[in-house]
């Protein structure tokens, strides 16, 4: 066999292997969508058909009537948007300061934040819950944080842990450190204060890093399950991720078509975001190596 033919067979083999694997990876998505429009008897029948006999789109409407889904989706959306906006402001300010502004103890403070980044949220879930439950002067609490429910079942309690994470600061600092030092000098000569320099020079140039951070934070917040699970016990404060588990999987005979319909609905916003911002998704993962 000559060299070119050999190379071609190799390429065909690789293509075959990756295509097969890709189909395997994507099959659950197709099956999810198809199951969401089947009837329950058809799902349970031992004779499996890939496509539904009758496409029942009303499954989606029915799924959304299990509990106040409008409310759950709005909760998730509100928490996600607030988290993104607040983290962008807080993290880019701190990142800029750590990268460009000289002040005493800067490197130690940054190192401490870095240590905090290593602490996974699972480790701190119990104490964070206790801190937020005993937050003074809210939810019927007194000065010492006793007597009420604190920030449990509030939006603040759901949002605070997401905006406290240091990884956005890390991301922004890395970005701002790449600017030339002469930029600060020029700003200073022109009479810019640090804050003015941030607002007029750095911020307008930060679009790529802020987009990356926004995409990462949005995915992380929308997709999170553990935190809302702990912080809410009121139906009206549930997020979509918690609701899909509690409303559909807790019964003995699960209504699979409704579960799949609800799953499709809460996956959809992430797919749409991914479609429009794929570049930033990939960039964010690669530059930080963080699990979104």
């Amino acid at each position: 066999m000559n060299k070119i033919a050999k190379k071609r067979t190799k390429r065909v083999l690789i293509l075959l292997f990756t295509t097969l694997l890709l189909l395997l990876v994507l099959t659950p998505f197709f099956l999810m969508v198809l199951t969401s429009v089947k009837s329950l008897p058809e799902i349970l029948s031992p004779k499996f058909k890939v496509f539904p006999e009758k496409w029942i789109f009303s499954n989606y409407a029915e799924a959304m009537q299990r509990g106040d889904w409008q409310r759950y989706l709005i909760n998730s959306l509100f928490i996600t948007c607030t988290t993104v906006v607040l983290s962008l402001i807080i993290n880019s300010l701190a990142g800029y300061s750590f990268a460009r502004v000289p002040f005493k103890g800067r490197d130690s403070l940054f190192f401490l934040a870095l240590v905090g980044m290593m602490v996974p949220s699972q480790v701190t879930m119990i104490p964070v819950f206790i801190v937020l439950k005993n937050f003074p002067f809210v939810g019927g609490n007194n000065l010492f944080g006793a007597g009420g429910t604190g920030l449990i079942n509030t939006y603040a309690g759901l949002i605070l842990p997401y905006i406290a994470g240091p990884f956005g600061v890390f991301l922004c600092r890395q970005f701002y450190m790449n600017f030339p030092a002469s930029m600060d000098d020029a700003a200073k000569i022109d009479g810019c204060t640090r804050i003015a320099a941030y607002l007029r020079i750095y911020l307008p140039l930060s679009k790529p890093i802020l987009a990356t951070l926004a995409v990462l934070k949005a995915t992380q917040t929308w997709n999170d399950y553990m935190w809302p699970l702990i912080m809410t016990n009121k139906d009206s404060m549930m997020t979509a991720q918690v609701a899909v588990v509690t409303k559909f999987t807790s019964e003995v005979s699960i209504q699979w078509q409704l579960l799949m319909a609800a799953t499709v609905i809460i996956i959809l916003p992430m797919f749409i975001l991914f479609l429009f911002a794929q570049k930033y998704f990939v960039e964010g993962i690669v530059t930080t190596g963080m699990k979104g």
């Binding site: 000289p102 002040f103 800067r106 480790v123 104490p127 640090r194 797919f271 690669v286």
Partner: protein
Amino acid sequence: MTLFKAKKPRIGHERVGYLLITPFYLFFLAIILLPGIIAVINSFTNYDLYKTYNFIGLDNYKALLIDPLFKKALLNTLIYSVLYIIPSMSLGLLLALLLSGEGRGSRIFRTGFYMPYIISMVCASTIWLWMFDPAAGFLNQILAAMGFEASTWLKDPALAMTCVVFVSLWKNLGYCMLINLSGIKGIPAYLYEAAEIDGANAFQRFKNITIPMLQPTTFFLFITTCISSFNVFEQVNVLTNGGPMNSTTTIVHQIYIRGFSEFKMGYASAISVVLMLIITLITAINFKYGNQGQDTNIG
């Protein structure tokens, strides 16, 4: 490590720096650092979230040593880690090697493999909850159609953990691929060209260039995967709730059950501290052996 190479303060000390980091640092202290300290303190108490709050010394830790459920959870977490880390890292590397081309085909494939990573662990779990269902699930229907015997998957104590691992693998394969890809992109092309001129075949090039040059990436991926494996919780909670017969309960699942079902906050804090020590150990190994003078763009 490029982390600490921040330009040294050139002109003294500007207080506005503190002002700019204040919003971040307040949240960071209150929600990350302070809870870390509180966890340690609470682990020496019998706090029940309401009235009881007494210091009981090392009793929680002594109880942990003889708690069969905690031992089971520790063992399960280890099994999960071993079953998850090796396939995810090797498959991720394989995919990255096969799809490192710049063509449009590779790009479409990469996007496809990346899809499961952007959905939530809850959604991944609900999809697979159906796939694994003994009565209605896709897997058993396929097995039946091919004439095999049905399996009970998540309801089978011997198989449940493997199923949980499989779901994690399916969801995170794209992540492992992506990190490996960024490592491969960082290897200079002239190394391969020189090796090819010297007559090295594809396997030799892989063994003598790709593997050593990729070592920092591999190590980084190993550490992050280790840490996330030790923190596995969401998929367990949705897929099996720790069952059947506690065969899938993990460390974090135990923290959750002890803390929020039994309200043993002191005991749950003690488990958290143990978990924190394990994570610290892994991170310390990272700092000691990772990135040995070799610079990567990540981590």
